[in-house]
């Protein structure tokens, strides 16, 4: 190896220097005639000469098929919109009448409450489960694994009914010392587990099982070197998780987590089996009475769409927050883009347009 390294090092300068010597000869030779022919010769001859194209007109590339595709899609969208607007069986009047009715709004609030509580609790429990799964303790690992295994392999519907009917399995729930008669707390299961409690319990535990895996995946996606650097700096374990690893894991966690939360919003509709009066159950009760099934389902659907849309906006800004440092410069938000656009195009009426752009 040593014998080969030396000749290479010696031979390398030779072709390099040869290249350098030949370059000054050819470069001016090519440049001089090129510079002369360009103005004198035909305008199209631009291969050798550095023609100045500054005053040429730029013709953008044409994409006729894009226009055809756009037209086809536009016709389709227009057709759907037309049928939605004109088909009387959609009964938009009924939809409008019920959309903001008190009972529907109450149901909506219940849905939001369930989503917020079980979402928050589910993700907190999921975070703990993920840390357990990644810990060094075999016991914690297997407990976490078993939890996810059970709650992911049983239908949510069954879990709900089980929790609600817990009183059938265990009449009383008590807290005390095992194998003794000491009781600190005791209550009838049926009074303890209301519809709301069963709903929250079922949704939370189910959510925790899924979010544990999402959070674990996010944590695993963070480079091992980050942990090593933090450890080498003597940063305590909890701080390493929350300050160093988790913010970076968030980038991987957030898109899937929002999927889960959006799924949960609609997943809450399953608690209708407990006759819990959230949005979907309320709608069912109403259409069973009025027989306006489709319009009322539409009311529920529209509300779910609204919630999801609002969540999507949150998602955009939260993801943006956590991409700090991951991209060199953050892209403009739609709002910033709109402002920039308006600032350029309508400088005079900027204030009012900005107002409109905000909403």
């Amino acid at each position: 190896m040593s014998s080969t390294a030396t000749p290479v090092a010696q031979s390398a300068p030779e072709p390099a220097s040869a290249g350098i010597e030949s370059a000054p000869e050819t470069a001016p030779a090519g440049a001089v005639p090129g510079g002369e022919t360009a103005p004198a010769g035909t305008g199209s001859a631009g291969r050798k000469a550095a023609t100045d194209y500054a005053d040429y007109r730029l013709v953008p590339a044409r994409h006729p098929w894009r226009w055809v595709g756009t037209a086809v899609v536009a016709v389709g969208v227009a057709g759907i919109a037309w049928s939605l607007a004109t088909n009387p069986r959609w009964e938009w009047g009924v939809v409008a009448q019920w959309f903001t009715a008190q009972s529907i709004v109450n149901g909506l609030l219940e849905t939001l409450k369930l989503t917020a509580i079980s979402g928050a609790l589910g993700f907190i429990l999921g975070f703990i489960l993920a840390l357990m799964r990644l810990s060094a303790s075999p016991l914690l690992v297997s407990v976490s694994w078993t939890f996810s295994w059970i709650f992911r392999s049983t239908p949510l519907l069954v879990q709900m009914l089980l929790w609600y009917n817990l009183g059938y399995l265990y009449e009383k729930i008590s807290l005390g010392l095992p194998f003794t008669d000491v009781r600190f707390f005791e209550a009838q299961t049926t009074t303890l587990i209301s519809q709301f409690a069963a709903a929250v319990l079922g949704l939370t535990l189910n959510q925790a099982a899924y979010s544990a895996e999402i959070i674990r995946g996010g944590i695993l996606s963070v480079d091992q070197g980050q942990l090593e650097a933090a450890t080498a700096l003597g940063i305590p374990a909890w701080r390493r998780s929350t300050r160093i690893v988790l913010p970076q894991a968030m980038r991987a966690i957030l898109p899937t987590a929002f999927n889960e939360v959006i799924g949960l919003v609609k997943g809450t509709s399953i608690v209708y089996v407990l006759a819990y009066s959230e949005l979907f159950y309320t709608v069912q009760v109403i259409y069973n009475r009025t027989q306006q099934v489709l319009p009322l389902l539409l009311v529920a659907t529209l509300w779910y769409v609204v919630i999801t849309s609002v969540l999507s906006v949150f998602q955009y800004y939260i993801e943006r927050h956590y991409s700090k440092g991951a991209v060199r410069t953050l892209p403009l938000t739609p709002l910033q883009k709109a402002r920039k656009f308006l600032a350029i195009h309508t400088p005079a009426t900027r204030e009012t347009s900005q107002e409109r752009g905000t909403r």
């Binding site: 190896m1 040593s2 390294a5 030396t6 090092a9 480079d223 070197g225 980050q226 090593e228 650097a229 933090a230 450890t231 080498a232 700096l233 003597g234 940063i235 305590p236 374990a237 701080r239 300050r243 160093i244 913010p247 970076q248 956590y322 700090k324 440092g325 991951a326 991209v327 060199r328």
Partner: protein
């Protein structure tokens, strides 16, 4: 261990501890062995680095240099032998005739005395340069020293960034910095805890050639500061400049060690000579 031709002064840890004042940053590595599965990557390493000394470890890749470095701050646990810093064992506590393994919290405290600079910088990408530097002083529990308040840490952080020539980039995120700048931030981060010892794991290997010198210059400055430096590097010219001890490792053993002059110009071992004939020539031709 037996192959170490010039074992440096073998002060037993206990004796070193008596001289606490003058031994800030004494590193004693004694008969350290480390296995990865069945492969023995450190085969009984014995090495002493004097306080304020600069030891440069060189050798072919896979020779165990980085592993040795990582055992010093207990990122890797040794399988046999022991490592002491100023007479205190790393990762263990002596009680009577027993060695008690330290708990994580205690080990973290020991680590705050040992700064480490990584090949891939390992800066925290979601924190600014300044936040990278101030994080540990604010939160890491240190032996005998209070944690810094945010304001103190910030002041100290800016001072350190200034020292590595990056005061004006304090608010930049690592990805907005060049490789050389990132590594200088990483050095400032390692300095933020006032460590007795600084470990450099191939600090310039991930850098473009023209960025290498800005990092090496910072390390040269540190070499004069009285902090003990242990550097794993492939930059032989730099090693010759900065080291007072050069250690040549191959296949998990120290083949020989000595002053740069002894090792680079007059190596005793055939393996050392053959290694340098491959790597030194280009560096010295420049």
């Amino acid at each position: 261990m037996s192959t170490a031709l010039r074992p440096a002064a073998q002060t037993p840890p206990a004796a070193a501890a008596t001289d606490a004042e003058s031994t800030r940053g004494l590193v004693e590595i004694t008969k350290v062995r480390k296995f990865f599965g069945a492969a023995e990557v450190l085969k009984g390493i014995t090495l002493t680095v004097e306080p304020g000394g600069v030891a440069v470890i060189v050798g072919p890749s896979g020779s165990g240099k980085s592993t040795l470095l990582r055992t010093i701050n207990h990122l890797e646990k040794v399988d046999a032998g022991f490592i002491a810093i100023d007479g205190t064992l790393v990762g263990y506590e002596v009680r009577g005739r027993r060695l008690h393994e330290l708990r994580e919290k205690e080990i973290l405290k020991q680590r705050t005395e040992i700064g480490m600079v990584f090949q891939n910088f390992n800066l925290f990408p979601h924190l600014t340069a300044l936040e990278n530097v101030t994080e540990a002083p604010i939160v890491a529990p240190r032996a005998g020293k209070p944690r810094l308040s945010k304001a103190e840490a910030r002041e100290r952080g800016l001072e350190l960034l200034d020292r590595v020539g990056l005061k004006d980039r304090a608010g930049a995120y690592p990805r907005q910095l060049s490789g050389g700048q990132q590594q200088r931030v990483a050095i400032a981060r390692a300095l933020a805890l006032d460590p007795k010892i600084l470990l450099f794991d191939e600090p310039t290997s991930a850098l473009d050639p023209e960025l290498v010198n800005e990092v090496l210059d910072v390390i040269r400055e540190l070499a004069k500061s009285g902090t003990t430096l242990i550097i794993v590097t492939h930059e032989m010219g730099f090693a010759r400049d900065v080291a007072d001890t050069v250690v040549f490792m191959d296949q998990g053993q120290i083949i020989e060690q000595g002053t740069p002059r002894e090792i680079f110009t007059n190596p005793r071992e055939e393996r050392t000579r053959s290694f340098f004939s491959k790597v030194i020539e280009p560096a010295f031709n420049i």
